[in-house]
Amino acid sequence: MHLALQSVAANYGPRHVIYDLSLDLQQGEILVVSGRNGSGKSTLLRLLCGLQQPSSGQIRYTHQERAYTPQAARHLLGWVSPDLMLYRELTASENLHFFARVRGLPWSTADSAALLDRVELAGRGHDLVSSYSSGMTQRLRYAYALQGQPLVLLLDEPTVTLDEQGMALVHRIIEQQRQHGPVVVATNDPRELALGDYVLQLQPPR
């Protein structure tokens, strides 16, 4: 899996949040995106998962010699962000089951249990998400993102609201993801900056 950006720009009205950004990321590489609040870290991740269109430039994923736009590559991506909300009136297992069905994944109760175990939520699958703490909700976002083993992980503020154990879990997930594809992490946490093979420092918008 290969990710390439060519002269990508993103504007909000007259403000250039991202301007003329080009980069290549290969399988197993970790890119950490850093920068002040409002510098465009979250915008970049939204562009990478096709939730927002670039004002100009091109984003392409290449997998098995086939090129995909971010929208077409969504089945290959896992996205974790504070903006990502799951259904609070459903249980964690119901959420995972629902998203597996709409993704077209074969899914069973055992799959939900295994995934929840992986994000250290074992035994809490039948609790409503509304009863979860913010840290547990963040772990559930990882379960959502890891469904079907994505080839690219896009992580926005990956350890926000997590305790030390949760941070260690996220660092493990990022390292394990090297086997499957590239990882893009948007953060200002010094411990996560150290995880990256490359650090992209975004400047405040002009």
Binding site: C49, L51, M85, L86, Y87, E89, R101, V102, G104
Partner: protein, 226 residues
């Protein structure tokens, strides 16, 4: 195609489960239906069975259904935006499956609303139905018309700040032709006219459903990804 059916069914099941747990749209719809039937019953009373009376009864019934529908049918999309779950859905579900799932969910809601409103009108306004088969056919096709026309609009207005006002403004011009046809047709059914009298109305409603469904299915992915 199998994925589309599976995803559509999953969206419908998820919406029904969420609705049963939160009563987000159901309470609003049913409260409006009860309020409308009670207000008509107390304010107007039984109207008898003259030709003007059946036209007024048909109009009152459809006005009650329309306003309850406008009050509740946008909520499945609005709820996704307000609770910010739409991003997770957008990343995982095929757009057409989201549209079809929401459409079916709105149909279930409106079928329930039809049943409750009609029963309330039968009891409180003492509406008598001359041709029950034609009445049910018009009620069904009229409701499907409402849903096919308004589900796409609900997706459009879900991200706007002035949701309810915008929903009514956008839906009204699309729904006027449906309302004219179903009110006239329902008046015929209440009066007890034969099927042949109501057939042109049923054909018009069917044509409307096909056009709005096809147009909405084609436009929805653009609206959903905008």
């Amino acid at each position: 195609m199998k994925l589309l059916f599976q995803a559509t069914w999953a969206v419908l099941r998820k919406d029904l489960r969420s609705e049963l747990r939160t009563r987000y749209a159901l309470n609003a719809l049913l409260l409006f239906a009860v309020s409308a039937a009670t207000a008509v019953s107390l304010g107007v009373g039984p109207l008898g069975s003259g030709s003007i009376a059946v036209s007024v009864q048909a109009a009152l019934l459809w006005v009650a259904l329309l306003f309850a529908a406008l009050n509740g049918l946008a909520r499945s999309f609005v709820q996704e935006e307000e609770r910010r779950t739409s991003l997770a859905l957008r990343l995982t579900a095929p757009p057409l499956a989201v549209y079809l799932g929401k459409l079916l969910f709105n149909l279930v809601l409106l079928a329930l609303l039809d049943l409750v409103t009609t029963l309330l009108f039968l009891v409180f306004v003492r509406v008598s139905i001359g041709n029950i088969g034609l009445f049910i056919a018009l009620l069904l096709l009229g409701s499907v018309s409402l849903v096919t026309a308004t589900t796409l609009i609900a997706a459009i207005i879900a991200r706007a700040s002035f949701k309810s006002g915008l929903f009514a403004v956008l839906a009204f011009p699309l729904l006027v032709p449906v309302l004219v046809v179903v009110i006239q047709g329902t008046a015929l059914a209440l009066r007890g006219d034969p099927w042949s009298a109501g057939l042109p109305m049923l054909q018009l409603l069917l044509a409307y459903i096909v056009v709005t469904f096809v147009a909405s299915s084609m436009l929805f992915p653009v609206v959903w990804e905008a």
